[in-house]
Symmetry: C2
Subunit: 888 residues, 2 copies
């Protein structure tokens, strides 16, 4: 049997062909699915994804037999409908749409009304008795065909349309007269002839081949590639092409077109939600040229709006039945496109709807309650990105706001940045580290690369389902659309509103939740937690195996982290406490002392302060583990750098300036990252570590005595590269603990002693090191620096180039690198082999990055530790790791 | 059967007890061996090493039964000799000497004449008819016992002796009258009573136990520990104790004592060589208090000297027979001690003689020619340290010398440094990086730590076998002894000679070969190669498997390296060429260019210069491989640092100072070691690598054409951490090679392209990297820095402390560390697994360090590469690696 390239919506592919989705694309699979469900779908067929791949791989030649299969399917369609492509009496018109396996909204191209030419338009006019409709469809077809198939500048054709409207003195496309439309068709054809050197193809079959091939080729266009890069979608999937009999929303006042979400994509609330336009075709809604109307009263209805529910109650009732059917079938919120032709409802598309992070959680949790899915599925459906966005700062409601405009809050969250008016500028300026807001009249797929780099997006036109809104929600970027008061001049790069003119570089703040545009930088506060998030997170905690701890240096941070669900402190850096205004002088005195006696004197001043810090932390953390790292950074970091500061310090300490400057200079290092720091300091100046251990143990003993709960101090020795460093320091620490505890009779206390594993040598010799360690905590920041030989401070000089060249697709300081992960795995194995049950965690920045958390899960670590705000993300990532493991 | 603790010299231990050497110590084993050979050895017995260890481990308690075995052995000795310890008629006197398994000259302690007390001294006087001898022996015993057993200050007893001599107005000890000696004995006993609070023990058995225990305990004294640390001798061996019937070299004018070497320990020449003293005991010779006489005319005989050969021809003839017997038996040069008592020769010790590097090679090669050993044994016997010393610079014979004194050249080589008069000062000042010369009247074991740190040693007293001379030869340090003209004042820290007074800190130069002391710093030149070295090295090359290449940047270095036997260049650093006066301006112009065009302009100026360098190198290396590393260091290294220099550069380049300063500043890095360098530069500025590749390939092609031989260029890309860095740069390099070669029609050339493996990540991902590499060259300097996280520039702040604490016994930048070696082994395995036959070498400093060379051999690398002067050492180390592998 020869290979199948083409499938009718009513034909099931053989299971051997792979999943319907990968074979037919998301759109095609869903059209077939809806057809099977008995929903009103205009008939059609799908040219499969492998056909596209074969075409692209074979230098734009169709695979053998494929074209014939298209012709057969067309014949079948013709006989079903009694219409035939190009037939002068009863012409068949079709839409040609792309549909990849993964949803890529607006990325690929669509041609409607294909099959029209000077003959068939007349037949259409005659058949419908609506000449205006026929010519409106014709001019739309010419416009789309020019853009998508011929690659002409869409603005030029749009200009010609605007000129026609000006000539007639009308505002809306639908107000154009038949005459004007006929003339416009002529003008378009002339323009095509002049620009391409060839006449517009009048053979509908020629039109069809060209349109399908254009869709195939668009897989490789710039914006498709950009989108796939931004969303980590492989480039070798290809797209299917759907050819479907046209139905017409622009056939008159009893026709309409619309898009809807089965639940609110912004809040997740269970309400049917959408927009429609009477007497229009689909692209009128999504392109944001005419402002669409709400479909029902659940949508925000403004004065003068007409809902579909009221305007066309019959088709609306059909639509409600359809959407309920779809949600039950797909068990997820759907994004649907429909057309009403002369009062009859037709479904053109259904797909899983994009939603805001807030809606993502709400819908997942609601669907568990509705019995549609189970809690594991709910957890699987919520992405870590969404949870992270939910934690993003919101605007401080008490901060004064200078609101300069209002639009539709299309994607929530607050964003502040400088105005930019072109996508390319946004990319440039963001590349220089600027936070930018991209401002456009309306966005189109050409703006994707700029949207990716912007903090937020603001448009003057369009609705909640406009390109800008859909894309921004997908990107989880704050976005306001349809802020019609704004006069945007992209050439002058200005925005004028209410007499105020802002230029490129001026700062504005967007609230993507309520749609307000504010002047300047508005302070933000932390978001409130919604109850459904708590429900979801309780399921998350049931599923995950990894502990999630936090990196926190102060009692306040600890409080925040506990509120976010942290189960311990994986890294408490003592040096941040040293920088306190009240302490830095004593720290400097200690560092600059010539001898141990001088150091001990200064340390004695620091002891009560450190102890106080630790008491406060133990009080917050109660019985949870608190891992305190002894002093790590090179001492030079604590010293003043400028000459003036050194002079002033000399005065404060009452010492000679020259001597101080000399000692300061002596502490400078060529490569401080690889210098005299970490346990090397502890061995050189054991009195420092002794003081810190004393402070920790006294604090723990006192909290234990005063509060009664069993605190869990864990002392962590940094930068160990050789077991003997640890064995020597462990002895010092143990002796100090014993000495201190002898002063707290009757206080029971267990103090674990472990080490940071943050150097390659420590990983390699982890077996020997484990003999002296109660726990390992992987410091993957430093481990990444030394494994790669890249200084985080200096890497910026070449890491962006490396990203461009594809050398390092992902910044290894953001997501754990393969090589670094190999070392962590090696150290874990060797450490556990030498000491079964060795407690293992990670306290680098990677501890809150989902792919790294998954690695930690797979390597069998006991916990990850990350900054307080990333704790929920880490919890979710840890649960996903379990679910992914089960699925694999 | 109960355990044996004690062995008579005539008793063979059971083989199950382990090697005689480890059981009885070197001295004891050799005394037993000589006894078995029928040589004249005074009878005695050995208390074994395990006895010492048991005693030390058991808190200074003898193991059960051991003391009884000593008493049994003593009884056997008594019945053999018809003398008994403490017998008032016929007293037995014994020596008690330590003897560890590994020779540690002067480290452990000796007590002679044990058994004397007020009764037995009278018996001795009566039995020998020589009262003076008896009391001289008694006072010697008291002195040694006080020092070794009671731990009293030896100088105090020496002072009392000096006072006695002053009172009698005599110069030599042997001139003291019997009366004076009797009084001195009384004075000593009084001193002992007053200082220790107890009388001198008169019971000889009590003396014996105390003496044995003192020897046991001395295993743990400071100087023994220092010596073991310096020579990598384990601390858990313990020492044996030899108890031997005394024979007396001080019994009158027909008695004598001496030490000798069976060959010249300085030159290795085959001549019997030694020193003797009439009417003296052994310690008189080695302590350097009386200047000994040559034993024959082969030694350097001065006016008025009396040789043993002439003075005591009978015993001398016996001695010659004995030494020939010993050399045949041991098949190595021996260091012997003998005593002649009343004309009868007795052997007190034989051991393998310490020798200078020159003698080591000479003796090894001669013994092969004499048929005593084979060439593999000869290679095994020559240490890499010796070969290294042989390559050490010697004083330039044409340089003017201000000779201020002459002594005996006790250990050859030239040393320059500042005068220090105390061992502790030498340690302090050397620790601060100063090169010091330790000056002492005579050295004693208390000076070991200072000698270890000094560049050279100079003494006013003593002979070629004095403590200073023996120890210095062992340490391969230049040493001059017996420079009697020097008046040394250790309190004032001055040295006066011929009216000239030098103080601590003044610079002198020693020639340990001819014994001249010179004022100031004298220039040095390379040593001549001796024919026996060439013979030895030819055997070395037959044995070794590893190739030995060199790190050389200039044609001149290449020439030197080839003369030393280098078989290729493993590392030619191109950046050193950049610092040339004629080039640095163009280099800076390139670095400071704002754009690629500017850089290309400057690079065009550098191209002919680099090409010229490479042509010269290819001409020297002929068909040997030449591995050239493309630019590696951060660009900032090439820029001027001071403000004045930047201003001057701005003038030279004709650019604005402010702009130049700003760009210079921009290139500064926080951690340049981990910064924008190596292949990161190559990817950022491919035009630099293109220019360098062009220079290499043009040079190679032209030398190939002009000289006709097949040059072997290998292009090495530094600092790769990710395979994609290498794959991208390989493409650029290959394209450039192809482009350049197209201009040299008919010239065949193979250019290998490989990479430095010098980052942990490169080791871990070596499999993927090997896909793009023709060879790996391990850059173990950088690999050590990143594996440990230690900057070589900053490590000096804590590495000395780490050595003291025993954290890092060996500096990992000198000898390859275990962890680093693990990574190298991993990379080798993974690289070869991915690409069988991958060429592997090492080009870090470790390539010339023997233990690291051995590691490289065991890991199966193809070659090591080191600096030209270390090439012979590396060759020998590579041969040793083969021999060690065979032996293991």
């Amino acid at each position: 049997m020869s290979k199948s390239y083409v499938y009718g919506f009513d034909q099931s592919p053989e299971p051997a062909q792979g999943s319907p989705r990968s074979l037919l694309g998301g759109k095609g699979a869903n059209l077939a699915e809806m057809t099977r469900l008995g929903l009103p779908v205009p008939p059609g067929f799908t040219v499969s994804t492998p056909t596209c791949l074969a075409y692209l791989e074979n230098e734009a030649a169709w695979p053998q037999g494929a074209k014939e299969q298209v012709l057969d399917a067309l014949e079948r369609l013709a006989s079903t409908l009694g219409k035939r492509l190009g037939d002068a009496e009863s012409p068949l018109l079709v839409s040609v749409r792309s549909g990849a396996a993964v949803s890529m909204p607006g990325m690929m191209d669509t041609v409607l009304n294909l099959g029209l030419n000077d003959q068939t338009v007349e037949a259409m006019a005659k058949a419908t008795g609506n000449r205006r409709f026929a010519f409106d469809s014709y001019r739309r077809f010419l416009q789309m065909y020019s853009d998508v198939v011929l690659g002409l500048d869409r603005d030029r054709l749009e200009d010609l349309l605007e000129q026609a409207k000006e000539r007639e003195g009308v505002f809306l496309d639908s107000e154009l007269s038949v005459d004007a439309l006929e003339k416009l068709v002529g003008t378009y054809k002339l323009f095509i002839q002049e620009t391409t050197g060839s006449p517009f193809p009048t053979d509908p079959l020629e039109q069809l081949w060209a349109a399908i091939e254009a869709v195939f080729s668009s897989w490789h266009n710039r914006r498709a590639i950009d989108y796939r890069n931004a969303h980590d979608i492989p480039h070798d999937l290809g797209t299917a092409v759907n050819i479907q009999a046209m139905v017409f929303g622009n056939m008159g006042e009893d026709s309409a077109t619309g898009v809807a979400f089965t639940r609110d994509p912004s809040t997740g609330d269970r309400r049917f939600f959408g927009e429609w336009l009477r007497n229009a075709q689909g692209e009128d809604v999504v392109a944001g040229i005419r402002t669409p109307q709400p479909i029902n009263n659940d949508c925000s209805v403004l004065e003068g709006d007409e809902t579909l529910e009221e305007g066309m109650p019959g088709p609306y009732a059909d639509l409600v039945r359809v959407y309920e059917n779809l949600e039950r079938h797909y068990r997820d919120m759907q994004d649907i496109e429909f057309t009403i032709e002369s009062g009859v409802l037709w479904m053109l598309q259904t797909r899983t709807g994009k939603r805001t992070p807030r809606a993502e959680v709400k819908i997942a949790v609601d669907m568990v309650e509705e019995g549609l899915i189970d809690s594991r599925e709910a957890v699987r459906r919520v992405s870590t990105v969404s949870v992270e966005k939910l934690l993003h700062p919101q605007l401080d409601p008490s901060a004064p706001r200078n609101v300069i405009a209002r639009g539709l809050g299309a994607s929530p969250g607050a964003a502040t940045g400088t105005l930019t008016f072109h996508a390319d500028d946004a990319v440039d300026r963001a590349g220089r580290g600027e936070a930018v807001i991209l401002v456009r009249r309306e966005t189109s797929p050409e703006d994707i690369h700029g949207m990716l780099k912007a903090q937020g997006i603001l448009t003057a036109r369009g609705g909640m389902t406009s390109h800008a809104a859909v894309v921004a929600r997908g990107l989880s970027k704050p976005c306001i659309v349809g802020a019609g008061e704004l006069a945007i001049d992209p050439d002058a790069c200005t925005l004028t509103v209410g007499g105020l003119t802002l230029s490129q570089g001026d700062t504005v703040t967007l609230d993507g939740g309520d749609g307000t545009v504010m002047l300047g930088d508005i302070p933000t506060i932390q978001p409130e937690t919604r109850p459904e998030v708590e429900v979801l997170m309780s399921w998350v905690d049931d599923i995950r195996r990894l502990g999630v701890w936090t990196n926190a240096d102060t009692a306040r941070d600890c409080k925040v982290a506990r509120d976010f669900g942290a189960e311990g402190i994986g890294l408490c850096r003592t040096e941040h406490m040293f920088f306190d205004e009240g302490r830095i002088l004593a720290v400097r005195e200690m560092i600059l002392s010539e001898d141990e006696e001088g150091r001990r004197g200064a340390l004695a001043k620091l002891l009560p302060m450190q102890k106080g810090d630790f008491k406060a932390i133990f009080e917050v953390m109660e019985t949870l583990p608190v891992t305190i790292r002894l002093l790590d950074p090179p001492l030079h970091e604590f010293l003043p750098q400028s000459d003036d500061e050194v002079r002033s310090l000399a005065r404060d300490l009452g010492v000679d300036y020259e001597a101080l400057a000399a000692r300061n200079h002596l502490l400078e290092e060529v490569n401080p990252m690889l210098g005299h720091r970490g346990c090397r300091l502890g061995l050189t100046y054991p009195e420092i570590y002794e003081m810190q251990v004393r402070a920790i143990v006294e604090a723990a003993a006192e909290v234990r005595r005063e509060q009664g709960f069993m605190v869990q101090p864990k002392i962590m020795i940094p930068l160990v590269s050789h077991e003997r460093e640890l064995s020597l320091l462990r002895q010092i620490v143990e002796n100090t603990i014993e000495r201190v505890l002898s002063g707290y009779e009757g206080v029971e206390l267990e103090v674990a002693i472990g080490t940071m594993i943050e150097l390659p040598r420590a990983c390699i010799t982890a077996g020997a090191i484990a003999e002296h360690a109660d726990f390992f905590s992987f410091g993957t920041n430093d481990l990444t620096q030394t494994t790669f030989g890249i200084s985080r401070d200096d890497g910026a000089k070449f890491l962006p180039l490396y990203a461009d060249l594809g050398v390092l697709g992902v910044d290894p300081f953001i997501a754990m690198d393969d090589g670094v992960a190999d070392l962590v795995a090696m150290a874990s194995e060797r450490g556990r082999a030498a000491r079964p049950g060795l407690n293992l965690g990670i306290c680098g920045e990677h501890g809150g990055e989902p792919s790294s958390v998954e690695r930690c899960h797979r390597m069998g670590l006991d916990y990850v530790s990350c900054s307080p705000f990333r704790v929920p993300v880490a919890r979710l990532a840890a649960a996903h790791a379990v679910l992914n493991e089960e699925a694999s």
